[in-house]
Amino acid sequence: MSSVPLSLYLALALILFCIGLYGALTKRNIIIVLISIELMLNAVNINLVAFSKFGVMPSITGQIFALFVMAVAAAEVAIGVAILIALYRNRNTVNIDEVNTLKN
């Protein structure tokens, strides 16, 4: 099994992270924004898993960490969606740029 070098994994993760960040900062729909954040967290997971296999000092801890991250990410998105629903009930919109009553 030819192994893919670590650097490619890292690059992939980095790209994923950037895409996620871009999406989080530009998309109007809050759902998409939440998904983008999910992407960023998954980039982390790729990193962790890659490191745990091909890192300087490979260990299982990285994969455990990744599991925790997934769980937390799920919780976070769940909360995000819950709040979104509450918001939608009050405002009838899921567009983030219309949520701007709090400002200077």
Partner: protein
């Protein structure tokens, strides 16, 4: 892992966490099964009892040597105890504020959740301060964050509340990703998530590529954590969230959550990055090399916080910026990394806890009464309620760092730390002090409202017991630690052994 191993752990050092956990469980169960008619304030008092219990058990743990259980993921050293004290006291006061919280929409149906979410967030913060492992650290952080998201949005039918919660979640998510991304690199280079193990590994680093990567990791972790601290550049959520959240939640975010953030940052920076050599074996620690960078962040935070606060009309927004600025001051402590780092951080966070919570208690009282959060609602407060006005004045003076208050001693500590090191941080101190003077403008603006302006209407204030106690305690502590700071400092010196067990 078998039962024997489990039993062999010294669970005793986790007693405070267990008490809080127990309180959470009890409260959620009670809330579920109690008839709707029963006033949920009862739960608040129960929760408070839980916190006080945890506090007592924590106090009994003072003096224990550094101990860790669960394979070094949970450790109880002086640092953890000292800062958990702050967290618990802060949380107790927030609870007292929360019991007196009323909204127009009514909070009755969620009041139960309100309390145990507070406790959950507190538990997260406590876990953070005791964690010896990146994973527990992260879990603690997320427990705190997620509970906070819900707390901010707990007034489901309030548009502002929804909005601020939404903003909080999104910003929080992004920042979490940053932190984690940084952490993943640290893990990758050391192969472990245990903080002390990491420290042992990184000391031996020689590969400049790796050090470079760690620099990047540091950068990302710090950015991510600055969200929790509400420092630049991740500060912008703070005003909106502070404004939209219920006042006790705001108080919680500005005090307990911020304290937790600093605990986390000190843990990570001091344990991991302080041990990374900047060039190779035995050279200057990476962290010291990055002092200027930290100083830049601190300066930017202080300037942004204080300057933008000048334009605020909403009292909660004002205090949001004020607490951004205060976080900047605290970053100065972190930046200077003097021998007095822990003392200073602890003392200032403690002082900040009392003065800020006291101020928020009064803000809650006044805004709740007036139904508006405009600064002008404070007009004539001195006439309407002299005690409140004077108490508020003391808190504000303390925030502004005027002698006679704990805030002044705290600032003195900060200057001391920043100047005692070699090279001294003259510029940073100058910026800090200059922005402090800028802060006089808005702090005294509030004073002007309270003392100089006539009241629109003469209404007497009824001071709820909970708030009264909070204001009383905070007032007493603010003045006490301003006049006799030796009480706190001696306590710190005698009981925590100079935090020498931090690296053990």
């Amino acid at each position: 892992m078998d039962l024997e191993t489990l039993l062999s752990f010294k669970w005793g050092i986790m007693t405070p966490e267990f008490i809080i956990l127990g309180a959470i469980t009890l409260l959620s169960l009670l809330d579920l099964f109690m008839p709707k008619t029963v006033n949920r304030k009862l739960l608040g008092w129960l929760g408070l009892a839980g916190i006080l219990g945890a506090l007592v058990s924590l106090v009994t743990l003072i003096g224990n040597g550094p101990e860790s259980i669960l394979f070094d993921t949970f450790r109880l050293d002086s640092f953890a105890i000292a800062f958990k004290l702050l967290l618990l006291i802060g949380a107790a006061l927030v609870f007292l504020i929360a019991t007196s919280y009323e909204t127009k929409e009514g909070l009755d149906e969620y009041r139960g959740e309100f309390y145990y979410l507070f406790l959950a967030a507190l538990l997260g913060a406590m876990m953070m301060s005791s964690s010896g492992d990146l994973i527990t650290l992260f879990i603690g952080l997320e427990l705190l964050s997620i509970s906070s998201y819900i707390l901010v949005g707990i007034r489901k039918k309030n548009r502002q509340s929804n909005e601020s919660a939404m903003k909080y979640v999104i910003n929080g998510g992004i920042s979490t990703s940053f932190t984690l991304f940084g952490m993943s690199y640290v893990y990758g280079l050391t192969g472990t998530t245990n903080l002390l193990d990491m420290a042992r590994h990184v000391v031996m680093l020689t590969d400049s590529q790796h050090i470079y990567l760690l620099g990047l990791a540091f950068f990302m972790i710090f950015i991510g954590l600055s969200f929790k601290l509400a420092t630049a550049p991740f500060h912008m959520w703070a005003p909106d969230v502070y404004q939209g959240a219920a006042t006790p939640v705001t108080a919680f975010l500005s005090v307990v959550s911020k304290t937790a953030g600093f605990i986390l940052i000190v843990r990570i920076l001091m344990v991991i990055f302080y041990n990374i050599p900047s060039e190779g074996l035995g050279t200057m620690p990476l962290l010291l090399k990055l002092q200027d960078y930290l100083a830049f962040l601190a300066a930017a935070t202080m300037i942004i916080g204080n300057v933008i606060a000048l334009r605020q009309k909403n009292i909660k927004r004002l205090f949001a910026y004020s607490s951004i600025a205060q976080a900047g001051y605290l970053l100065v402590v972190v930046t200077s990394m003097s021998a007095f780092l822990f003392d200073t951080l602890w003392f200032y966070l403690g002082a900040y806890l009392f003065m800020n919570l006291g101020a928020f208690a009064i803000i809650q009282l006044v805004t709740q009464k007036a139904g508006s959060e405009d600064i002008s609602e404070f007009a004539g407060l001195y006439r309407k309620a002299p005690f409140l006005a004077i108490a508020m004045a003391v808190f504000i003076l303390s925030l502004a760092g005027i002698p006679g208050t704990a805030g002044f001693i705290g600032k003195l500590n900060i200057f001391m730390g920043a100047l005692v090191t070699e090279p001294s941080h003259y510029v940073l101190v100058s910026i800090m002090i200059a922005t402090t003077v800028v802060s006089y403008f808005y702090y005294f603006g509030v004073m002007v409202q309270m003392f100089f302006r006539p009241a629109v209407e003469q209404v007497k204030f009824k001071l709820p017991a909970g708030l009264g106690v909070v204001i009383g305690i905070c007032l007493f502590a603010t003045i006490l630690f301003g006049v006799a700071p030796n009480i706190a400092l001696d306590f710190l010196q005698t009981n925590f052994n100079q935090f020498s067990d931090f690296f053990q």
